[in-house]
């Protein structure tokens, strides 16, 4: 190719790349969400991911019976793979070999961030010092406290959802989550992130009135060689009849407690 053409091609590529980069965030920068009575950006409503795939496996994967294919939700590192340490990988492999250890299969708490991309809706409610994420799945509620920025000491308490503190940065809600239970999985495929050394930082940003871009960065030198980030989009339920119902998982098992056998009374 002639030098001039190469230069023009390069320039075009540069402009195109810049435009693409700008486009991916121009949506958020252009949109200014409504504010609630506390002056907070208003995230209230009933939300849910559309993509069913990450709940099964957050890494890129092909379909299998009952499992849809997914491009993966890991955006950093660029190859979309979870940057496990050798220890972390061994644990992942042990999880995979033992599906009965899957907390989701036992109706346990899915934890954070898995709760955010479950195939169940959740309702966000905001008050002065508290943002709650109320999932339909086994009545899980995340409490994100806004009045403090500290946590329990490392290893002092094991919480499946972690202990979440948050603040509003511009139009975004950012959180810091610590004090995780060791047995938390990230999906149905044995990917895991939990334990006392894990720290998760989330960012919720409304890119338009009905869409939240959700990102979570996970940091745990015991299990990962670097901090890494996932991203999913949460969509507002528009059906005015939509409400959070119940999925009380363990209540549907064969030997679970049901309504009583009534006594016979003459």
């Amino acid at each position: 190719m002639a030098r001039g053409a190469r230069l023009r091609a390069a320039a075009f590529a540069l402009v195109a790349a810049s435009s693409c980069a700008m486009l991916s965030f121009a949506d958020a920068e252009d949109f200014s969400p409504a504010r609630n009575r506390f002056g907070q950006p208003d995230f209230e409503g009933i939300w849910q991911v559309l993509d069913p795939a990450p709940h099964y496996d957050i890494e890129p994967h092909g379909a299998s019976y009952g499992v849809p294919a997914g491009l993966g939700i890991v955006i950093d590192p660029a190859d979309g793979r979870i940057p496990y340490t050798a220890e972390g990988l061994a644990k992942r492999d042990a999880n995979r070999a033992n599906p009965s250890a899957d907390p989701f299969a036992r109706c346990y708490k899915p934890g954070v961030p898995h709760l955010m991309y479950l195939p169940f809706p959740f309702q966000i409610v905001q008050s002065r010092n508290l943002v709650t994420i109320n999932s339909e799945y086994v009545h899980n509620t995340r409490f994100i406290y806004l009045h403090r920025d500290d946590h329990f000491g490392e290893g002092e308490i094991d919480l499946w959802n972690g202990d979440s503190v948050g603040r509003f940065e511009g139009d975004s809600l950012v959180t810091d989550v610590f004090n995780f239970h060791p047995d938390v999985w990230l999906d149905r495929s044995g990917n895991h992130a939990g334990g006392p050394t894990l720290r998760v930082n989330e960012r919720f940003t409304l890119i338009d009135a009905d869409t939240i871009r959700y990102e979570a960065t996970l940091n745990d030198p015991e299990n990962f060689t670097q901090p890494w980030t996932i991203r999913v989009y949460l969509y507002r339920h528009k059906d005015p009849r939509k409400q959070i119902l119940e999925y009380e998982c363990q209540a549907y098992a064969e030997n679970s407690l049901g309504p009583p056998e009534l006594p016979e009374v003459r």
Binding site: R148, D150, H151, F152, G153, G155, E156, I157, D158
Partner: protein
């Protein structure tokens, strides 16, 4: 008296049933008419919801070692009362007051747990880590979760 209770060495005091914990039927599982006080050596603790467990080894009069488990409120409540995981160490001599299990197993519902000796040395004063009658030994204000850094 069941064989298990009879086998316990250490002090066995009768304490009037002073209160009932007001959550799901503890008395269906434990016997409020069989209060116990047992002394033993702390092994480990399961800091788990909905109830934590204190595992401790008791030496009977015959020199037999048996392991008891004391059931407590959940970590959420223990932490609010000021109990930290690091407060109790394997080998600590503890005294547990509580109520024996109805099904005769080596479990009790704990009302009070105190450390009386560490490393073979008696503490000048027992250190109470759980006291369901004393709501706030460290004067922690209602609702504040202490110890966060």
């Amino acid at each position: 008296m069941s064989k298990t209770l009879a086998a316990i060495g250490g002090v066995l005091l009768l304490i009037a049933a002073a209160e009932s914990p007001a959550h799901h039927s503890v008395w269906a599982e434990f016997d409020r008419d069989r209060p116990v006080e047992i002394r033993g050596r702390f092994i480990e603790m399961d800091w788990v919801n909905p109830h934590s467990w204190v595992h401790f080894e008791v030496t009977t009069d015959d020199g037999e070692k048996i392991v008891w488990a004391a059931e407590t409120p959940p970590p959420n409540q223990l932490i609010r009362q000021g109990w930290r995981r690091s407060d109790i160490q394997p080998g600590d001599e503890i005294v547990v007051h509580g109520y024996a299990a109805r099904n005769g197993s080596l479990r009790l519902w704990a009302r009070n747990v105190a450390i009386v000796a560490r490393g073979g040395q008696a503490l000048p004063e027992p250190k109470t880590v759980l006291a369901l009658l004393d709501p706030n030994p460290e004067g922690i204000p209602d609702g504040v979760l202490p110890g966060r850094r």
